[in-house]
Subunit: 132 residues, 2 copies
DNA sequence: GACATTGGTCTCAAATAGAGACCAATGATC
DNA sequence: GATCATTGGTCTCTATTTGAGACCAATGTC
């Protein structure tokens, strides 16, 4: 019933199976998209296709280097499509594939949790700062 | 309607608001728990309280250093409770707080997506490896 | 003729993660 | 009764990752 119980059961199951990177989808994908930028980039593309420089402006403090790297990895994993127009200067447009679009649902769940519980987290931090 | 549309709308909204770390819940929380270990630790605790060494054994390749650091941060954010029994040797038990438990639902969504779409991701990687 | 724009790459420095030694006190083992 | 493992960490040193910023070539704009 409970999501907690279901999650706990899944974890025990992974444990029993050895739970290494190659076989465990969760470990594998969390290692890839569980970084600071991937989810943000996916959220940015959720609204529609965007050019490289538009993404760079939308994500204020990602460096070009990391943006390139993140997009390349998402492309390799089949979540993002890269479309190059060989004009001069070049125009490169990124968009979600259908696989990428399917990720919007769980990501939205995460986002909604964050918005709903941000205050509680801030409060916990404040309590702890005071105790120290 | 669509999760993708909803997510896109949220993103545009953050953009309009400036979207910095301090004010944006998603940026803020993604910076904290969006690392390789936090979600795994939370999943491990979903099944019930566990001791430090049990967690270390359950998460095969996290170093003690990172496990300590991750647990401390989750504790600071109010997701995890740390209970120290001053025996010798000490016994320290970690468990989810109710805030931590509430995170199980979105996390489960993520896990289910990963399980459902792992094959598609592997296929995308294989296609790309072949093209190169 | 100078300057900005495009989508990157390259180099170097800074921050972060990982490996493994070490700790003190106790209980089990030999 | 000496040795060994266990507890929950910390500390140091090294390896990996990240970030900042210069640079690129060709074109359009002022």
């Amino acid at each position: 019933m409970d999501a907690r119980v279901a999650l706990g059961a899944k974890f025990e199951n992974w444990l029993a199976l050895g739970f290494d990177d190659a076989r465990c989808p969760v470990r594998n994908l969390l290692d890839q998209i569980g970084d600071r930028w991937s989810m943000l980039v996916l959220a940015a593309l959720a609204g529609g296709a965007k050019r490289f420089s538009t993404l760079a402006r939308a994500l204020p403090d990602i460096s070009k280097r990391m943006l390139t790297q993140t997009l390349r990895r998402l492309e390799a994993d089949g979540l993002v499509h890269r479309d190059v127009q060989p004009t001069v200067p070049p125009s490169v447009t990124y968009s979600l594939t259908s696989l990428g679009e399917s990720f919007a649902a769980p990501l939205l769940g995460l986002v909604e949790w964050a918005e709903a519980n941000f205050a509680a987290v801030l409060e916990a931090r404040a309590r702890r700062a005071q105790a120290a």
